[in-house]
């Protein structure tokens, strides 16, 4: 799971969506891995506008990256190759392989294992839409 993902996800509990405390989720005990990727300055320039900068600053801080600038780079600052390289390294080359993502509103912790975060909720937190389990029969003719 690349670090940029933290900018796209929030708590899976419906009631948390409206709470500002549910974004970003907070990394705990994160193990990081670096996977080299070609530096693509144009790509990074096109990605920056969609980043929630305040959230990214919080994420960078939790993962132990050097502090990001106070404001999102714009205009001239997007020509600075070092800035783009730093963001490329953090957002796209860094993977979180193990750890937890914790909601600041409900405190639920989502486990990350071998790079896959698990957002399935325990039944007491999920939507109660499920029916009793039944026997499943594969029946190809149902497609016809």
């Amino acid at each position: 799971m690349k670090v940029i993902t933290a900018n796209f996800v929030t708590c899976a509990v419906k009631e948390c969506k409206t709470s500002p405390a549910s974004f970003p989720l907070h990394f705990h005990d994160a193990e990081l891995e670096q996977q080299e990727l070609d530096f693509q300055p144009e790509f990074i320039r096109n990605v920056i506008p969609r980043i929630d900068w305040e959230a990214l600053r919080a994420t960078a801080n939790e993962l132990g990256f050097p502090s990001l600038p106070d404001a999102k780079p714009e205009g001239q600052a997007l020509e600075n190759e070092q800035t783009l390289r730093d963001l490329h390294r953090m957002l796209l080359e860094t993977h979180v392989s193990e750890g937890k993502l914790v909601c600041g509103n409900c405190n639920h912790a989502y486990t990350i294992k071998e790079g896959i975060a698990n957002f399935l909720l325990p039944s007491h937190l999920g939507e109660r839409i499920h029916r009793p389990e039944t026997q499943w029969v594969t029946n190809a003719s149902q497609f016809e």
């Binding site: 993902t5 996800v9 899976a12 144009e42 790509f43 096109n46 698990n118 957002f119 039944s123 499920h130």
Partner: protein, 256 residues
């Protein structure tokens, strides 16, 4: 024809094997009319689009979208993210996507697969974040709907401790999640449709596959009745008695 992503590493014990519906997705996205529409919707100078597939299975559709982003969007700076209730599918998708990107986009720029998440539909996605949503649902009408798996069902230790017959039941259960759609085959799709207005960005668009029994025309009418939303069939296959067996519906906000 653009190459289909390699899925030879995928074990289809619990994962849906790419089939007619998967290929209809690939052909629709890569069609001249749809790629033209998408390239206009996401012009090269605009922010990199986030493409999310819900229920990735083997990952063949998302991997194709990433690896053929030049043909589909007219740009390569595309971010992808996949969700599936089956952890095995998430692991498979990650590999399918990264392999396909490497195979098709040399030298860089390359699309970037950001993550595969074990999740129910779009539950963990930030509201307003998705630009392109892809969904090939469990669409077969069935008497009952399988329960959602829990974290325990997806724990590799759980599967390892199983007897052969328990493993068979478990595999059948996960496979049932790939096709069993409940009433009209629409129970899961209806939940996804409900989530669309919340999860799509202002320029966002969703592609949802439906079969004839899902009553595509009624579904489209229902979406148009949301107010401010459009729904059109943009791909189909398998004519049967004058009706398409499978259709792909594009859903998008009218005013950008």
């Amino acid at each position: 024809m653009l190459p289909t992503p390699d899925t030879s590493h995928v074990s289809f014990d619990t994962i849906y094997e790419p089939s007619e519906d998967s290929y209809l997705f690939l052909d629709t996205l890569a069609s001249e009319s749809e790629s033209k529409w998408l390239a206009e919707r996401f012009p090269q100078q605009s922010t990199s689009p986030l493409v999310v597939e819900v229920g990735t299975g083997s990952g063949v559709v998302l991997a194709f979208t990433a690896a053929q982003s030049q043909q589909i969007f007219g740009r390569r700076d595309v971010l992808t993210l996949g969700t599936d209730v089956n952890r095995n599918a998430c692991i498979a998708t990650r590999q399918t996507a990264t392999t396909a990107i490497k195979a098709e986009q040399q030298p860089s720029p390359q699309s970037i697969h950001t993550s595969s998440l074990t999740a129910d539909l779009c539950a963990p996605l930030r509201p307003g974040s998705v630009d392109v949503l892809l969904f090939n649902p469990p669409y077969v009408p069935t008497e009952d709907l399988p329960r959602l798996p829990s974290a325990v069902d997806n724990d590799p230790a759980t599967a390892e401790a199983m007897s052969r017959s328990d493993k068979f039941d478990n595999d059948s259960y996960f496979l049932s999640l790939t096709y069993a759609g409940g009433a009209d085959g629409m129970e899961t799709t209806d939940r996804l449709l409900d989530a669309i207005p919340g999860v799509l960005s202002a320029r966002g668009v969703a592609y949802v596959l439906l079969c004839k029994q899902n009553k595509p025309d009624e579904v489209k009418d229902r979406i148009r009745a949301w107010g401010g939303w459009q729904a059109e069939s943009v791909g189909s296959s398998g004519m049967q008695a004058g009706w398409e067996k499978l259709v792909i519906v594009r859903i998008w906000r009218e005013d950008q």
